[in-house]
Amino acid sequence: MDWTDTLAELIRRTTSDLPADAEAALRRAADVESPGSQAALILGALAENTVLARRQSTPLCQDTGTLTFFWDVPPGTDTAALEQAARRAVALATRNGWLRRNTIDALTGRSVDSNVADGCPVCHFEQRSEVRGQRSGAGGQGAGIEVWLLQKGGGSENMSRQFSLPDEALGAGRDLEGVRRCLLHAVWQAQGFGCAPGVLGVCIGADRAEGFLTAKRQLLRPLDDAAPEPELAALERRVLEEANALGIGPMGMGGVTTLLGVKIAARTRLPASYFVTVAYLCWACRRRGLRVPADGPLQWLN
């Protein structure tokens, strides 16, 4: 199998073909806004844009984002070769107009036109003797390779936040009520900037770096799932409902739907630290995956 071509196809799908759950959520959101309102107009345009991008294989959004590949691979896999294939695939996808020239050298300010540089695209590898099903956490998929791609744009990344509790200004203590306050505050702050309606990926605990990675990983979850821990599932439902009562609406111009989903995970923490990390994702929920079983054909995952 040619990994470069396969990963380039994964990029094409991710950049142009919004997953069905996200598209359905946008259509449901359009149905509840009052007809003729700005919110209804915006959501209607997003639905039209989604169909158009899919049909043309062109980017859903011109900010084709940071490309992060999350890999599960069996022990003994040559991960350097897979990373090289990912880099070649990004260069190819850029030439095809599936990705914007979206990489700037932070020192010189020059555009890196290939979109390939040290650490760019991002690859996270984890070794597994069994593919675990990264989105559901369910194992038993047999041996093989599974990879998910997330394309997260800069407007939404700029709205990601990390809180250190207790936070006196927010009245947020070290408990789930404190977490709730942080999340609602983050949604309020993101208005107008992060292209609502968005999705929150959240990590409670961990250190600062793992917090952001774990929060970002939650964005791979389907919009209609729930955290396995009942208290986190309840918090997800509550924050979603309350955020949608703020009236911020699509693009921050007022309306009923401000968030499409809230996805929370909890990790251990040091006694001294209590971080709440929020990865804000815009409506363009660009995540796609694929699985190559040890003894079977390639499967595309949505």
Partner: protein
Amino acid sequence: MITLHHPFTEAAVRALRAGEAVRVSGRVCTGRDRLHKHLAEGGACPADLRDGALFHCGPVVVPRSPDPAQPPDGRGGWRVVAAGPTTSVREEPYMARVIERFGVRVVIGKGGMGAATRAACARFGCVYLQAVGGAAALIAQRVTRVAQVHFLEEFGATEALWELDVEGLEAVVGIDAAGRSLYDEVRDASAARLRHLLESI
């Protein structure tokens, strides 16, 4: 639906009210962080922005090479494949100065802008339009022609100033020349709702 056609007159712009839906046609110039800094710091503008529109956008543009064997340097023209708005508030430190210096009548972006831009809109007769954030394929369809590109080498393709001809680009008036900002209103109302939610544990 109100239609606006380039060149935009002060009267047409001052007649617009926040919340109205509009369609923009004619010449629109893209510009984002690099261009705004350059213009606000006294740099020259190779495109004529007077009575014009400045679109906060870094498009995905591919060369329309007539001969695939030739290097894709844009000599055969360009094609815009994705062109949604970028977050406008990053240009807030520069926007008022750019409106004043160059006589910009229409700013197109997303997310709204701050008090200085709102004041400049009222003083100089300019309006801020919200395009649909992320609707890049749809907006690219409204682009009928890439007329010119400036600063391609210096700023790169994403930050360059692209002179685009558009037909019927949909937008909503976010900040009008009478000093009204929809974003400020939504922000204040949602802040009150947030306070209410946080009081009820």
